[in-house]
């Protein structure tokens, strides 16, 4: 092996080895173990079955799955409704204001979601800020319990994931060719028509990317219902966590994780199919 080959080999080998050992193999293990049977001694044992998957469809667990999907779906829609106009306004702001506004979105994007969730706890607890503010002028006569409700869980999820929706939307909108909008207006389109026939289709890749970045994490953020929702509400994240740490049922927890991976695969397929079609459309 000459020197050139040597450097190339090391650079590629190190990375591939890392991904193979800590991504590929553990990933395959999750899939493999999901087809096994629970065993209290060794965590799982060989007889290959579909029991875990059949169990997941049992009404008790299917309900958890359904609830989590509904939470994710609603969170995604809420984020989209708030973010779409916001990202549009940001992308149309004057050039010297834009960097600062963008930075203000990027900071929460990187800030620990746990810290931000905790900040919500302070606001919403019975003797917290919101209640104090409402009690003082007599808007309410008794503290309302905001914490440990579905409402609190939604606020927590939207609060944590909002920047993940804004940034992909903004990225697409900033690059949008505004001459297309002008052309549509010149040809007599109303503002509504410009939006539906020009702005919306052009921003769809961003909408899709944002939805993926919100929908999937929303299934797993177990500490949000833990801290804001009491024990009533359950996301897939809480469920998987319990299977591994409390119930010690690796195969069942793995099967639930495979479900999340399949959901991820599905979304990636949708995204790529769509963006390929979109690109073909644009070059025409």
């Amino acid at each position: 092996m000459n020197e050139r080959q040597g450097f190339k080999f090391i650079a590629i080998f190190l990375n591939m080895a890392w991904f193979a050992s800590f991504v590929l193999i553990p990933g395959l293990m999750v899939v493999g173990i999901s087809f096994m049977t629970r065993d209290t001694g060794t965590f799982f044992s060989p007889p290959l079955t579909l029991t875990q998957y059949r169990e997941l469809l049992d009404p008790v667990y299917a309900k958890v799955l359904g609830t989590s999907l509904i939470y994710s779906l609603n969170t995604t829609l809420l984020c989209l409704c708030v973010s779409y106009p916001f990202a549009w306004i940001l992308s149309q702001a004057s050039k010297h204001r834009r960097p600062l506004l963008l930075m203000m979105v990027i900071i929460p994007f990187w800030t620990s979601s746990l810290i931000r969730t905790y900040a919500l706890v302070i606001l919403m607890k019975a003797n917290g800020i919101i209640n104090t503010l409402l009690l003082a002028p007599g808007i309410i006569s008794e503290p309302v319990s905001l914490l440990y409700t579905d409402f609190a869980v939604y606020v927590g999820l939207v609060y944590s994931l909002l920047p993940f929706m804004i940034l992909p939307l903004y990225a697409v909108m900033e690059k949008m060719d505004l001459r297309l909008l002008e052309a549509a207006r010149d040809l007599g389109a109303s503002e509504y028509q410009v939006f539906v026939h020009v702005v919306l289709p052009l921003s769809l890749p961003g909408v899709l990317a944002g939805c993926i970045m919100v929908f999937l994490p929303a299934m797993g953020l177990f500490y949000i219902p833990d801290l804001l929702g009491g024990a009533k509400t359950m996301l897939m994240g809480n469920f998987i966590k319990n299977q591994f740490l409390t119930a010690m049922n690796w195969p069942f927890g793995s099967a639930a994780s495979v479900f999340l991976l399949m959901l991820m695969g599905l979304m990636i397929i949708i995204y790529f199919t769509f963006s390929r079609r979109f690109n073909r459309h644009q070059t025409l």
Binding site: R4, L24, G27, I107, T111, S113, Y118, I129, L162, P217
Partner: protein
């Protein structure tokens, strides 16, 4: 949309994003134990943090893991980004597939898959397992950031260096690294932030022998709100803020 509506929409979203954090930070300086009323400025909760050896331990553990894992991920990722942009090799597609699947896959799945791997490999959860996990989730960010930077400049530079007799490792260390340094530093800072803030993956791969700050905060918050936690969260937030701002300045440098 009218101007007035635009301004109020933007202000409402920013108030939502920053209001709770601002309240948290303000009350970390409050004299009173309870976060209902303001009773005067005080640094006593920060002082109290310094008297808590458990918290300080967790803080230093977090910093150690974040520093080492971000450096390993940056070194490995820069090398990887260089390799995929410079060479054609059989597993190139698989490589990118793995990079993107790590970025996309839900944290919880990564957490439990690594947990099972470590248990079956007989590794005790603690410093080493945490380090491996953190390098794994930081690596793709560095690769994507640095790869974007490498593909952004003229390949003729590398060809010229080669024609003048530079060998591959010389091209890498003398040409590529200096040119992509801002991107590398940004990748390092963002990895540091990711590592410092991670809750879900760390939750599964660390043990009681090695506590880190986010998990310590998690268990403290479950017991209730205290001004010490406010102070702790403020410190962590300011650290993130500093790292992200620095990374932002560096990536701006790239665009110039």
């Amino acid at each position: 949309m009218t101007r007035w509506l635009k301004i109020s929409w933007v202000s409402a979203v920013f108030t939502f994003l920053y209001g709770p954090l601002l309240v948290l930070m303000v009350f970390s300086f409050n004299q009173a134990r309870y976060t209902t009323s303001w009773q005067g400025f005080s640094l006593k909760w920060y002082m109290r943090l310094l008297d808590n050896p458990q918290l300080l331990d967790a803080f230093f553990n977090s910093l150690t893991v974040a520093l080492i894992s971000s450096m390993v991920a940056t070194a490995l990722g820069t090398l990887g980004a260089f390799a995929v942009s410079r060479y054609r090799f059989a597993g190139r597609k698989l490589f990118f597939g793995l990079v993107y699947s790590v970025m996309m896959s839900p944290d919880i799945v990564m957490g439990i898959s690594l947990l099972m791997l470590f248990v079956l490999a007989g590794l005790t959860p603690g410093f080493l397992t945490l380090l491996i996990a953190h390098v794994t989730f930081c690596l793709p960010f560095v690769i994507v950031l640095v790869h974007a930077r490498i593909s952004g400049f003229d390949p003729a530079v590398v060809d010229a260096a080669r024609d003048l007799g530079a060998r591959d490792h010389e091209v890498f260390f003398k040409i590529i690294v200096p040119m992509i340094l801002p991107a590398v530093l940004a990748g390092w800072l963002l990895s540091f932030t990711l590592s410092l803030d991670d809750v879900i993956i760390s939750f599964f791969v660390t043990g009681p022998g090695f506590e880190i700050l986010p998990l310590k905060i998690y268990s403290m918050v479950k017991l209730g709100v205290t001004p010490e936690v406010n102070a702790l969260c403020t410190v962590l937030f300011l650290l993130t803020l500093a790292a992200v701002s620095a990374a932002h300045v560096l990536t701006k440098e790239i665009k110039k």
